[in-house]
């Protein structure tokens, strides 16, 4: 069975945030199981999910992203989605993702926003 999604995890200090870089495809619930664990175990409340390496998302994958976001909110953590390429962004846009998720163009922009909000 092939691995569809890879995760690279790092932290920033100013502001303190967890950065998770995704590489691959998000097309089902199983893709994000590992990401759920990462988010739950994180001691940092701001978590950036970098999509620059994601080249395909379908509606099932998007639904899992929404579930992930909701679970994080219940744990008082904020997920910020950054660096979506044009194709992935179009899927998010048409499924309402830009309204219900915190999406920013770049990691830098998201980190600036966290700093500005004082978190």
């Amino acid at each position: 069975m092939s691995v569809k999604l890879l995760f690279n995890v790092r932290e920033t200090t100013a502001p303190p945030a967890l950065v998770v870089e995704l590489v691959g495809i998000i097309d089902s619930s199983k893709c994000l199981e590992r990401l759920h664990e990462i988010v739950t175990k994180s001691t940092l409340n701001d978590i950036l999910i970098v999509f620059s390496g994601v080249d395909y998302v379908n509606s099932a994958g998007f639904a899992e992203v929404v579930v992930l976001n909701e679970r994080a909110a219940m744990e008082h953590k904020r997920l910020i989605f950054v660096d979506l390429n044009f194709k992935v962004r179009s899927v998010f846009e048409h499924l309402g993702g830009l309204q219900i998720l915190d999406v920013h163009k770049t990691e830098e922009e998201a980190l600036k926003k966290i700093l500005a909000n004082g978190r």
């Binding site: 495809i25 509606s59 099932a60 929404v66 899927v91 048409h94 309402g96």
Partner: protein, 291 residues
Amino acid sequence: MPFDERAKRLRVKVPVQLTDETGKVYTGMTNDVSVSGFSAFLRCKEEFVINELVNNAFVLLNFPKLEQLFFDKEFQTVFNLDAGMTPQPTEVVRVENSWLRGFEVFIAARFSRMDGENREKLTSYIDLHTEDVDREAMVDADEEMIRRLDVSRGDTIVMQFPGRYLYIPIVRDICDQLAREIGFSDIDCFKIKVAADEVFSNAFKHGSPKHGDNLITVKVTLDRKGIFIRVRDEGGIPFNYKRYRDFDRKFPESSRTGLHLVDKFMDGWVVNTKKGEYTEVSFFKNREASK
């Protein structure tokens, strides 16, 4: 103020409730509303009405008693709209034809004093739904065009897959590759790939009750005009696919599905179902517009 004869007809049946000065309530349905008034069929279960109906079945009569129920009174009207309007003072201007249909009476009414805020809310609501008339006509025309597409001149690739999850990425990758071979742009290939994914996934999830023992047939027709894909399952479960057509305003973000992507990404799509036998989803993308 005369009744507005240019009332825009709404595409949806709208429940309406009129309450007279004594608190008596009449309920019914209207689909003919303007900012100056409306018409409606109201339920009217007065004793004299019931007696007439029991004795005379379907009749065409003038009922002074019936008209007395509605004329020279001010009602408060409430529509079951998602428009946030308050109850509106209303006068009934005619009980048209004074005929009964199963305890219903037809009325035409005008709003006595509608304030600016409510007027604006109602205008916006009417404009929003009046557009749907033109949009639905366009969609129906698109549908007719798809049904008449000539697939005889292009190359048609026919594939059959057992109803298993593992074939979803294979089908979408094949459609992606075929689209690239005939010259679609990168972004359009992505859109075709997503549409194929969503439609095949639905065929697997909803149209393959016996899973691997069911077959899903995928036909991809390529010609210089574009790509035309048909996905047929063996479930034959009918569904109201027109709900998913470009009606973003009716669907909150939380309830959009893969078929919204098909609708947005493709140049047209249609569903044919033979109940209990098959459902076939067809969609196409024009190559000429692809850059």
